[in-house]
């Protein structure tokens, strides 16, 4: 407890004045002292405009679940990659190499084998105490490492009709431009049936998602578009990345080397569907990544260069959603800079791993929106491309090959000023 010795009266008066000034300052500048929100254009988190009050409440409940960290007592694991959604998607942005997801498989005469008996296709490289994390099997011939994508704006991509993607596809390169986007076509599964049934059952859902093309479903989420919609993506991420079961995937992921079908001992499902739905709704109703400096001369010049290039043939600037039960997403035009199609990206990006109908060198076009805010969620450094190998936009472009080889050559031919303008534009997205 304080000493009873007191200050001289002169010093005491000065301290009173200082304290009074502090109080006045505190009361008058209360907002600033309590901190102010960052400029909305500098962050990816935030609600899509136009949500009703109950929708905002559900979004915020999903936000809480998205941030929730699971422990072993909650059902984490027994093997996992991360303990929360937010670990991989900090601030709703792109991921960091710390939480990279490794997938593997091997080439067999009959096709690509995702090696389920060896724990494939996804490596859960962490384990709860007392359990053993998976090791990469030596027999794997294809191994890829995947950086988590930004999640803002995904609800708009989820609400794009299948017919739009079919219209953008040009699998045989009929227009002869050297670019041939293909739909990721997936054999129907029980999971597809379940997630489409749930989504189509939503009040007012009248879109054309979940249609069959040649008897197969169109994938649109994931680096190789393996997930058909956000609900599947969320349930799968809970399961594969965190070891959290739900009604959609009710059995724990275990290490085959341990052979414990009992999992972590926590009763299933570890996440009720209300949680899965809340997180899915949260991701659906995140705002689109904000533009910055869109009126600057360099950005406008860069925009013109981009529009005139072949870049925009895959990184399609604008899409329009179909009918949606969420009015804020219903028939809206937005600017993701992706066509959600698979493209051959050349040998440099061929990891020898594949999913669905994609070849090993094919990747779904990465949306460019939010590119300028990527580093802010990745520890201050950019980790671009599917595995984070590129530390800058220029690095990423220089790794483009295959259908994008001509665009890389075009970029390299630009003058220094044009490059600056194009990069300014890309960073403004």
């Amino acid at each position: 407890m304080p000493s009873p010795r007191m200050l001289p009266s002169a010093l005491r008066r000065r301290l009173y004045i200082a304290f009074a000034a502090f109080l006045v300052g505190a009361l008058s500048g209360c907002d600033a002292l309590l901190t102010e929100a960052p400029d909305e254009t500098e962050e990816l988190a935030g609600l899509v405009p136009g949500l009703s009050a109950p929708q905002r409440a559900l979004h915020l409940r999903g936000d809480g679940e998205f941030a929730r960290s699971f422990g072993p007592a909650d059902g984490l694991g027994p093997i996992f990659v991360a303990a929360s959604c937010e670990s991989c998607h900090v601030g709703d942005g792109k991921g960091h190499p710390l939480f990279v997801i490794t997938r593997f498989g091997r080439d067999l005469p009959g096709g690509f084998d995702p090696m389920p008996s060896a724990g494939g296709p996804q490596l859960q490289n962490r384990a709860v105490l007392g359990y053993i994390a998976e090791q990469l099997p030596s027999a794997a011939t294809g191994v890829t490492r995947l950086i988590a994508p930004a999640v803002s704006g995904l609800g708009f991509l989820d609400a794009v009709d299948d017919t739009t993607l079919q219209r953008l596809a040009d699998p045989a390169d009929a227009n002869g431009d050297g670019i041939s986007g293909r739909l990721q076509l997936l054999d129907p599964t029980a999971m597809h049936a379940n997630v489409f049934a749930i989504e189509q059952g939503g009040a007012g859902a009248t879109g054309t998602r979940g249609t069959l093309v040649g008897g197969r479903h169109i994938g649109r989420f994931g680096k190789k578009a393996l997930a058909v919609n956000l609900l599947q993506q969320v349930a799968t991420a809970y399961h594969e990345d965190m070891g959290i079961t739900s009604d959609l995937l009710p059995l724990d992921v275990v290490n085959p080397a341990v052979g414990d079908a009992g999992g972590d001992g926590v009763p299933e499902p570890e996440a009720p569907m209300s949680v899965v739905h809340a997180v899915t709704f949260y991701m659906k109703t995140l705002k689109v990544p904000p533009r910055r400096d869109s009126a600057s001369a360099d950005v406008l010049a860069g925009e013109a260069l981009f529009a005139a290039s072949d870049c925009a043939k895959c990184h399609v600037p604008s899409l329009t959603t179909g009918a949606s039960a969420i009015a804020a997403l219903d028939r809206k035009t937005f600017h993701p800079f992706t066509d959600l199609l698979l493209h051959d990206m050349g040998a440099a990006l061929d990891d020898g791993y594949t999913e669905g109908s994609a070849t090993t060198s094919e990747w779904r076009t990465a949306p460019l929106w939010g590119l300028g805010l990527a580093a802010a969620a990745q520890g201050g450094r950019m980790h671009l491309l599917h595995d984070g190998r590129a530390s800058s936009v220029e690095d990423a472009i220089s790794s483009h090959g295959g259908e994008a080889a001509a665009s890389r050559t075009w970029f390299n031919s630009l003058s220094a000023v044009q490059r600056r303008q194009l990069l300014a534009y890309l960073h403004s997205l």
Binding site: S3, P4, M6, F19, L34, T35, S69, D74, A83, L129
Partner: protein, 409 residues
């Protein structure tokens, strides 16, 4: 070293210290009652008895403290407005069973009845003032705050970060050991040595997603050890009248469960903590602080996500400003207070990027505290903080105004 060998050696060490301590001359009789204590030097060690008690009935005294506050806080502009809470209501029960045996307990109600915990329930058996046996639910002497954490003793509404997120105050443990006060020339010397059940797997296996010694405070620790290998904790401190007190404390134990029914199911993993604490005056300014370093044996696959090293510190400075003349409060005092604090919950660099791992927080708090009587304090604080996430992204600023009171009763 096997678990059994380690326990045996620790027991031998305790015995050696006990014999050495008994051979030294005692400085003064130990306190036998919190209400009528006879200590001449206020120490961290004597803190749990150095409390006012409201009533004495025969050989038993009852007391406690209550703490409430109002907060308005925001992080990066986001907050939930003004909120009030009854943070703690604690009841002490002290009993002088005989001239050489005393009992102290503390029952804590936190946030109303949200959390109810038996924080202390210990028996002291005086062999000699320099050698007092202690057993029961004790407060391991990790730094000074874990022992002396009563809210009326502190001038800020929030507890120090290092004392709650590095040192897991309030940490109560079941255990036994010895403590005492020795009397080398010109200084006081106190020591505490205990064996306790220790922290559990929650150090890693928690829902925080980070290393947390507080997460290791399993409720079962009062009933049984999760690994049959007790933790060893202790503190030595020197006191000098003008300079105050300087303490060094430590903790080491196994936190996981390497054996189940005698079968080895995991490797043995330990946690250790070393802390220093100081309480002194610089001119008119009272300075209290503590710093701590934690090391945790984290499984290889969990490293970087779960920190293997942590550290932190806080320094509180109190400047007496004024003694107002208030009828009925002849000892009223007004103080200016400053706290500087910092913690790093995950020390190291990422193997993939070589960038420093984040997970840090730093804060500066300023305030005024009014003590109408010594055991009652009114607190007005402003706290400014900067939190950096695991990946080292841009700091998130925080700001909070807090008004609170705490009083012994």
């Amino acid at each position: 070293m096997s678990q059994r060998q380690w326990t045996t050696r620790t027991g031998l060490a305790l015995a050696v210290v006990a014999i050495a301590a008994s051979s030294l001359r005692a400085q003064a009789a130990p306190p036998t009652s919190g209400a009528t204590r006879s200590d001449t030097v206020r120490t961290v060690q004597s803190g749990i008895f150095d409390r006012p008690f409201i009533a004495t009935m025969g050989r038993t005294a009852v007391g406690g403290y209550v703490e409430a506050n109002a907060n308005i806080a925001r992080e990066a502009g986001i907050g939930d407005g003004l909120s009030m809470e009854l943070r703690r209501f604690n009841i002490f029960l002290f009993s002088t069973i005989s001239s050489r045996v005393r009992f102290l307990s503390e029952l804590e109600f936190e946030h109303g009845t949200q959390e109810i915990a038996l924080e202390t329930a210990l028996i002291d058996v005086l062999v000699n003032p320099s050698f007092v046996l202690r057993g029961g639910i004790i407060l391991p002497p990790l730094g000074a705050f874990n022992v002396n954490h009563d809210s009326p003793r502190w001038n800020f509404v929030d507890r120090p970060l290092v004392s709650t997120r590095i040192i897991p105050a309030t940490l109560s443990e079941v255990g036994f050991g010895v403590h005492g006060r020795l009397a080398p020339p010109r200084v006081g010397l106190t020591y505490d040595l205990y064996l306790v059940n220790g922290l559990g797997e929650g150090v890693i296996a928690n829902a925080e997603g980070r290393t947390s010694l507080a997460g290791g405070k399993a409720a079962e620790r009062f009933a049984e050890d999760n690994n049959g290998s007790p933790a060893f904790t202790g503190r030595v401190a020197v006191q000098q009248g003008r300079l105050g007190e300087l303490g060094l404390s430590w903790y080491r134990g196994v936190y996981n469960t390497p054996f189940i029914e005698g079968e080895r199911v995991d490797v043995t993993r330990s946690v250790s903590l070393t802390a220093i604490d100081v309480n002194t005056h610089i001119g008119r300014v009272e300075v209290r602080g503590e710093g701590a370093v934690v090391r945790v044996d984290v499984p290889e696959d969990l490293r970087e996500v779960f920190g293997a090293r942590q550290w932190g510190y806080h320094v509180d400075a109190t400047l007496p400003l004024w003694r107002p003349r208030i009828r009925g409060f002849p000892d009223a005092a007004v103080n200016a207070d400053v706290r500087v604090e910092q913690i790093d919950l995950n020390v190291g660099r990422f193997a993939t990027t070589f960038a420093p791992i984040g997970d840090t927080e730093a804060a500066l708090s300023v305030g005024v505290s009014v003590r109408p009587v010594s055991g009652t304090v009114l607190k007005v604080n402003y706290r400014r903080s900067r939190t950096v996430d695991l990946l080292g992204n841009a700091p998130v600023p925080g700001g909070a105004f807090q008004v609170g009171f705490a009083t012994y009763f």
